[in-house]
Amino acid sequence: MRFFARRLVFYFVAAWAAVTINFVIPRLMPGNPAESLFQSMQNAQPGELKAIEAEFGVGHDGSALHQYGQYLANLLHGNLGHSVILSAQVSTVIGQTLPWTLVLVGSATVISFFTGTLLGILAAWRRGGWLDRVLPGLTFIQAMPYFFLALLLVDGLAMHLHWFPEQQGYSQGLVPGWHASFIASAIYHSILPAITILVTTMAGWMLQMRNVMITTIGEDYVLAAQAKGLSPRRVVMAYAARNAVLPQLAGFGLALGFVVSGALLMEIGFSYPGVGLTLYNAVLSEDYPTMQGIFLVIALVVLLANLIMDAAYVLADPRARSREAR
């Protein structure tokens, strides 16, 4: 239990840090977002500056501590502020865009993880086979920027061959909802973005799994399993891979930050209507409340995913439990 207590403390501190960074950044930066917005507004009344400042929480009323308390209270009520540019509550905007990202990135990441791990097992098992030999070449694809791959795919498959749509999350003219034509359109539009995530992340899982597998296959207990006359499949999957997958699980949480970063770029490349594109548009239009709200939500989702992975890890590795139980 001590393990969980420590982890909970850690996640609590991390969440607090994210929340506080979000509070501090606008106050440390030069200039005042309310003023820049005020100047960009046509026929704005002088009194409105105060109102905007209050909206952004950058007004000068009250001490910093008071503002911080106010900010925390707002957060607890799920109030992330109001976006003047989008004329909507930030929480509503995020509620509309987050599902797009979660479904696409989530499913692509899970597929990438499983396929990559399986291919890694194969590459290690058939040492020196063709799969094993193409691996160094994969570092090249892996090092390719997400958005560049997105550009290439759009250029080749969408612009020239017209196999896939170039942009957006669904065809124009369709009303989002739970009906077949919309869902089909959404899936069709998500294929290229998903391929981008798969291609750029799978090589990483594969390389790591292969490398751990090669070490694990050399262990004595694997030799013992072979000596017992177990089938190769059983030896590889139930003996070697079962243990070799642990670092994969552990690395998952850490890699997630990169997956999220990559997904942001992918969304921008494909104009996919998720949080990444919204964050980008918010930055371009200097929509500070939306920017901050999205950063906070991304940070908290990543923390939550890490927490889940931690729990999964403890379930998968009894050593993690016993070692921490000291």
Partner: protein, 327 residues
């Protein structure tokens, strides 16, 4: 560039005497290719601008958006700028950001990692917590928000921000290695002879972490290059500067795809991917140099690039970090 950043392996083997002057031919082919690619890019960053056929910024409406020709080996942009010249200037700027940020980040990771690992106890608890918190917060959204508040930020602020956010990976592995080295006999012996803490750190512990630090430096360059290219592509820093990311930004901005000007957006992307692959391969080589186990295995049973030893519970696992793994 997702799972690209890997934690360099924490070498928990006994620090075998490092063999100096390992012959080039002892390296695996991968490492040689990586070193070759990186060397090529460094040379290009240093001397490339001498060979720029044109001023990368000068515009010439006559030959705008021209396909590769003898005058313009890689064609021109829609403003008539020479793509080859931009590529050479951009490589220099991009590499500068990568190396600059990596120098800052590596220095920070050494300070944090050694302090936590050497002093232990509450220092370790506090610094590890801090490291893991910075590690688990998604860096790119944070950078986007930060640079969103700092419009038109130049190369210096980008280097600073990337450097200040890029240290936790290195700090984690250096801490783990320091923790393990601290208790070794040779360090204990040196302590018994009355050597000062500073001497213990700089002459006994640090020299044994050189390969780890080098590997961490290389992967930080990789992270900084990738992130800075992404940020430049998003137009989040000075779009008038020359860099590979800025080239991609303008190519996208001017609809290079729709006018089918492949010579404009393909070369910078390929350069970034090549540089990245070179850095990854170079890191394999550094692992081989620093970890004799990998090199001994370089014969029939080569285990180059091996990163993880699941069977070894390392000191890292004592206070499980963000990943919470025995690594």
């Amino acid at each position: 560039m997702a799972a690209l950043r890997r934690l360099p392996e924490t070498h928990v083997t006994a620090p075998t005497r490092r063999q100096r002057g390992v012959a080039w031919r002892q390296l695996s082919l991968k490492a040689k290719v990586g070193a070759g690619i990186c060397g090529f890019f460094v040379l290009m960053a240093v001397f490339g601008p001498l060979f720029e056929p044109y001023d990368p910024a000068s515009q010439n409406q006559v030959g705008a958006a021209g396909a590769p020709s003898l005058q313009h080996l890689l064609g021109t942009t829609s403003l008539g700028q020479d793509v080859l010249s931009q590529l050479l200037a951009g490589t220099r700027a991009t590499l500068l950001v990568g190396v600059g940020a990596a120098v800052i980040a590596t220095a920070l990771s050494i300070v944090f990692g050694i302090t936590a690992g050497y002093l232990g106890a509450w220092w370790d608890e506090g610094l590890s917590l801090f490291t893991n918190v910075v590690l688990v917060l998604p860096a790119l959204p944070l950078l986007i928000v930060l640079l969103g508040y700092l419009p038109k930020s130049g190369i210096t602020s980008t280097i600073l921000v990337l450097g200040l956010l890029g240290w936790p990976w290195g700090a984690r592995v250096i801490r783990a290695q320091t923790l393990s080295l601290r208790t070794r006999d040779f360090v204990a012996a040196a302590r018994e002879t009355g050597e000062s803490s500073a001497r213990l750190i700089f002459f006994e512990i640090l020299p044994n972490e050189v390969s780890l630090i080098a590997a961490s430096f290389v992967s930080t360059v990789l992270y900084a290059v990738g992130t800075s290219v992404a940020l430049a592509y998003l137009g989040l820093y000075n779009v008038d500067s020359q860099s590979l990311g800025t080239m991609l930004y303008w190519a996208q901005n001017q609809n290079a795809i729709f006018v089918n000007a492949w010579w404009w957006f393909v070369p910078p992307g390929i350069f970034v991917a090549l540089l990245g692959a070179g850095l990854v391969l170079l890191n394999f080589g550094i692992d081989e140099l620093g970890n004799p186990r990998l090199r001994e295995a370089a014969g029939a049973n080569r285990i180059d690039g091996r990163r993880w030893r699941p069977a070894d519970p390392t000191p890292v696992s004592r206070s499980l970090g963000a990943g919470g793994s025995p690594r």
